[in-house]
Amino acid sequence: MAELSPDDRHKSHDMGLHAEQLAGRTQQVFFYPEEGDNYTYPEGFDVDFTKKATIDAAEMDGPEVNLRIRELMGEGYGHIVVQNPLAKHSLGVGILNRLKLDFEGSLGYFGCGLVDGPNIHIKGRVGWSCAENMMAGVVVIEKNAGSTFGAALRGGDLVCKGDVGSRTGIDMKGGTIIIGGRAGAFTGFMMQRGRIVILGDAGINLGDSLYDGTIFVGGTIASLGVDAVPGEMTDVEARWLENKLATYGLEAPNGVANLTKIVAGKQLWNYDNLEPTEKKIAL
């Protein structure tokens, strides 16, 4: 007897010819459908943007500042100003709702990580790994940023108006990173999706091992990484760049048309057509 095709099997099941309950991995769900389309985090807060509060962080440690921000959000404050952050670590992390958050100074490591939704403005500089794993929202830094800026970014806009360190956008999976100045070595390393815009120069090994995504560079490129190749700018991209840069008061040094576009060459082994067994032989 001939095997039923998967389509035929589904048809017979839909007609009631099979009553068994399937329990394989294909039936596994992590989220209940009742959660609906407008899912909100249980840890998120409804805030009022007209309610403003100020925190002086000079004598507080990082967790104390974050807890205070949380308390204020719980009280409905939608605009929070943090004074004297003094480059302390892990400030403004884990915010899962809309919020206007202003830091009147510099942040240390891991600032604004794991956020989903807030608009954050930082008057100073940020240390390593700013906005790591950001899901949505906007983070704007007026001065410079350290290394691994926007690591594993998933969404939102992350903007540094000054220079950034090495490995910016490492493992980035979405969103947009905009750098007003220079970017260090290995920017876009193993990038998987999203866009990086560098208005200044880029360091060595730009876009090394990137799977996908796009990098635009306004200055010189010290060297391209493995599998990073020049691409051709489209009109849609040019318009998008014009609008995006204008949003943050930035301009490409010689116009967006002269930005260099870098994409994945997709020549790495994971893009070929070999079957796994064939790959084993090849390797």
Partner: protein, 318 residues
């Protein structure tokens, strides 16, 4: 992980003991095992400062005899110093096992490199004796504990000088003891010290080459190799900047290091830029640290800082 920090007053001096203590205390979380300071005071003409110890801190709790052994070892060190016609013009005891001597070499002795080496070799020959530093400006202090503890133990607050480097250590590849703590003095070179965050992967290749050139190492730590490598290059005619530029190409691995000489402070970062460094620079002061929070400890007002880039080398003079 380790934390490193450096500062230099340009054209002036300051309380570098207190300043470096504050910076290193802010980096305590990067390495709680030991803390070290290389501080550069105002040289007194013709005098050398020697910091040395005659036991490890952990030896103190290992028996009753160690207290007498320390006295005997110190007496032997004193005897040997005098036997080499060197005058002890000042003596301070920082801990039971650590001392600071101000030494005056004979007037007809220029205190040259070979002379210093012979002197250091003879002192290090005493059981348990270890010279931490010997120079005209450099004083090297390192011990177990955080910056606050070490600074208080060695009375560093109020130490006037021009520049300093420091280190908070998280022991990874060698013991938790003073010998393995940073900074490292480039034995036996006058006034050269190094702190380092990272790992050199061609350590043994360069140690072999440098030993063949007659250099000796006081530890098996890769950070000491940087100090000796730079001192060797300077001895061969390089400027500090030239030696550091060469090191970025020749030393393999991931590293950020700070080096200090009698009048200069330098910083170098490897070509992968894998180890952190934040820099603040103004006309009269330069501060560097693994994390900005260390610089902000002594400069609470808003300042402009940035990360040096891959392969970058910088040198500042007092």
């Amino acid at each position: 992980m380790c934390g490193i920090a450096g500062l230099i007053h340009r054209g002036s001096s300051g309380d570098i003991g207190a300043e470096m203590t504050t910076m290193l205390q802010a980096l305590k979380h990067r390495g709680p095992d030991s803390t070290g300071f290389a501080i550069y005071g105002i040289p007194v003409e013709s005098d050398h400062v020697m910091r040395f110890k005659v036991a490890e801190q952990e030896d103190i709790g290992k028996g009753f005899e160690i207290h007498q052994q320390i006295k005997d070892r110190k007496a032997e060190v004193d005897k040997r110093i005098r036997s080499m016609d060197v005058e002890i013009v000042g003596e301070e005891q920082a801990t039971e096992y650590a001392y600071r001597y101000r030494l005056r070499f004979p007037a007809d002795d220029d205190g040259g490199q070979q002379r210093l080496k012979r002197f250091a070799d003879y002192i290090e020959d005493v059981e348990g004796a270890e010279i931490l530093s010997l120079g005209r400006a450099l004083e090297l202090i390192k011990d177990l504990g955080d910056a606050g503890i070490v600074s208080e133990q060695y009375d560093l607050a109020g130490f006037q000088g021009t520049h300093a480097i420091g280190h908070t250590r998280m022991a990874t590849e060698s013991d938790v003891d003073i010998r393995s703590a940073h900074p490292y003095w480039a034995y036996p070179f006058n006034d050269i010290s190094v702190v380092h965050n990272g790992q050199l992967t061609n350590y043994w290749k360069f140690r072999r080459a440098l030993e063949h050139r007659g250099h000796r190492f006081m530890s098996n730590c890769d950070s000491e190799l940087i100090a000796v490598y730079l001192a060797d290059r300077i001895e061969r005619g390089d400027t500090l900047k030239e030696a550091m530029d060469r090191s970025v190409g020749e030393l393999d691995g991931v590293f950020t290091y700070l080096v200090a000489t009698a009048d200069s402070l330098g910083m170098a970062k490897d070509t992968m830029a894998a180890k952190p460094m934040v820099l603040y620079e103004s006309d009269d002061f330069v501060g560097l640290a693994s994390e900005e929070v260390a610089i902000r400890g002594i400069m609470p007002d808003e300042i402009d800082t940035w990360d040096p880039y891959e392969g970058e080398v910088k040198v500042w003079q007092n």
